[in-house]
Point group: C2
Chain length 330, copies 2
DNA sequence: CTGAAAGCGCTTACAG
DNA sequence: CTGAAAGCGCTTACAG
């Protein structure tokens, strides 16, 4: 049986209120009393119950991190950034995988609400507005990655996705490519649209035509990248370069090239996005657009704490920068 | 302001106890009352507060997962297994990184205690016994990975590490290698000792001598693997094969071989351990010992729930199997 | 089948 | 500088 406030009070010969005061370091207390209480706390190995405290303060010292899938190599570093920023504030983090499934995403948010989390960081897959209206409040801010919402107590961290896509495609054009296809990821997502825009921007800026049949959507996983690239390169052999929505798709495209006997980058150059740990290790090493994932997680969390501290204030989106990393594949 | 039990009771015209009964599906209730209460719950969009409930039941529907570092590619799949097993039981999971730091590990466990978690799964780096004595109890079981403790309410999930190491080295011997070195990881850890044992077992079983100077310890990260392999291969050029504590060290060894102009596997064969996602993607693809990480996480979590259900019972360790995956590097 | 009382372990006004 | 009372939102015996 762990010691309670009452046990400590009894042993120190004071009221529980006094103990509470020294635990929370509030109010004036005579040094003698303080020492007596501190001694009792040490003797009994007392630790205040966060759940009892939470019931009255309505704060659980807990936040939720909702992402697609922690085994997607994009996310572990993000999570690490979140954890590292949360820990010094005394916060614990619930990790939740939505799997890009609307049902699960909704269920997770309800569950976090039930647990009384003090805030949420979410990488959304779907339109979140109704859920956010329920979830977000002055006591429970939400940071959304890659989707701007004009809602109170909601703020955004945006990745410079469009610029990243542009950098990637410009690089390919500089290498002399004019027939550049795109593995575009799942349609109608904001990050997807941004990448397609960047791709178009770069092509039209150089006077190259945009061919819609060269923009192929699909779930952004490696096997799908392989299939899509296989189809694309068989049907349009004139393609000499591919820009992929993310590194996993790019890896799939490299696989496809190997199968088709196309050398990378000589016969087909490939650029990815994200710079996951795999990117530098595969052969050929992947040219890609780096996102500082750790920093993303860290900054999202710091923003969340800022919002907790200033519930009334509106916050402009945080913009996370991107960087072209040139390796062997393009 | 979210609705409370009292609001629901008021609207349904019953006592809060009755509402509590229908929410928790306990006790006999007339169907009419039940429907009335259900309607009130739906109308008010009522959700019971887990923190209020936790204060009285002493159950938070929360578990802690303590691992070294989620960005270590071994762990995301483990975490996924834990999450997937916890979710259907209505449990949320606190993710905590210990970084193999004793201070942090201790602090994390205290923090989980404060939050009143119902159980903990931990990949320990250090001697945990004192901490476990405080943490573990009939109401709070602990599953420890890779360390057997003979404590009540503590059980173990063990990986067949020794057998795995043996498989790896036997494979190298079958390929004709007799000069086999080992990058051994950090000393005095159980998993480390097990691997060294397996390495010795395999060598002596085939009548090969064990040379202690060919067993090199060190933090199991890629850069360290490179350095250690560089030293080892320069000092003892007769070495033709390396067995590494984990895939990250093996990757470092491949790097070292490239730098030294040694072809892998022709001039130096390399076998890793874990089969992280990178292993199949690098060149040459890494021969390694696979641990089913997802399954490990899932089974650890299921065991935790079994322990919650039967607090008095002692559980034998779960043994997670390993498998040699032969690819290109050996 | 349903309810009134007590209490989980704390903090928050309010007194003194 | 310190304490007694009320209450956070639920569940747990105990009655009826």
């Amino acid at each position: 049986m762990p010691a309670k406030l009452r046990d400590v009070a009894q042993r120190a010969g004071v009221s529980i209120k006094t103990v509470s005061r020294v635990v929370n370091n509030q109010g004036e207390i005579s040094e003698a009393t303080r020492q007596r209480v501190l001694a009792a706390i040490a003797d009994l190995d007392y630790r205040p119950s966060k759940v009892a405290r939470a019931l009255v303060t309505q704060r659980t010292d807990t936040i939720g991190l909702v992402l697609g899938d922690i085994t997607n190599p994009f996310f572990p570093e993000v999570a690490r950034g979140v954890l590292d920023a949360a820990e010094p504030q005394g916060y614990n983090v619930f990790l939740c995988n939505s799997d890009g499934d609307l049902q699960r995403e909704t269920r997770i948010l309800e569950s976090l609400l039930d647990h009384g989390v003090d805030g949420v960081i979410i990488f959304p897959t779907f339109e979140l507005e109704p859920a956010l209206r329920r979830l977000a409040g002055p006591d429970r801010p939400v940071v959304v990655v890659n989707r701007p919402y004009d809602l109170p107590n909601v703020s955004a961290v945006m990745i410079h996705t469009r610029r990243g896509a542009q950098l990637a495609v410009e690089h390919l054009i500089r290498q002399g490519h004019t027939a550049i296809a795109m593995l575009a990821g799942q349609s109608h997502e904001v990050p997807q649209l941004q990448r397609v825009r960047g791709y178009r921007d770069a092509l039209t800026a150089r006077g190259l035509p945009v061919r819609d049949e060269w923009i192929v959507g699909g779930v952004p996983i490696q096997s799908r990248g392989r299939e899509s690239a296989l189809t694309l390169l068989s049907r349009y052999p004139e393609i000499t370069a591919i820009f992929a929505y993310n590194d996993l798709l790019a890896l799939g495209a490299i696989e496809a090239c190997h199968e088709l006997g196309r050398r990378v980058p000589a016969d087909c150059a490939i650029v990815g996005f994200d710079d996951i740990p795999l990117a530098g290790a595969v052969c050929p090493a992947l040219t890609t657009v780096r996102v500082d994932k750790y920093d993303l997680g860290r900054r999202a969390t710091e923003r969340l704490f800022e919002m907790m501290a200033q519930p009334e204030q509106m916050f402009a989106p945080i913009w996370a920068d991107v960087e072209l990393i040139v390796r062997a594949s393009a």
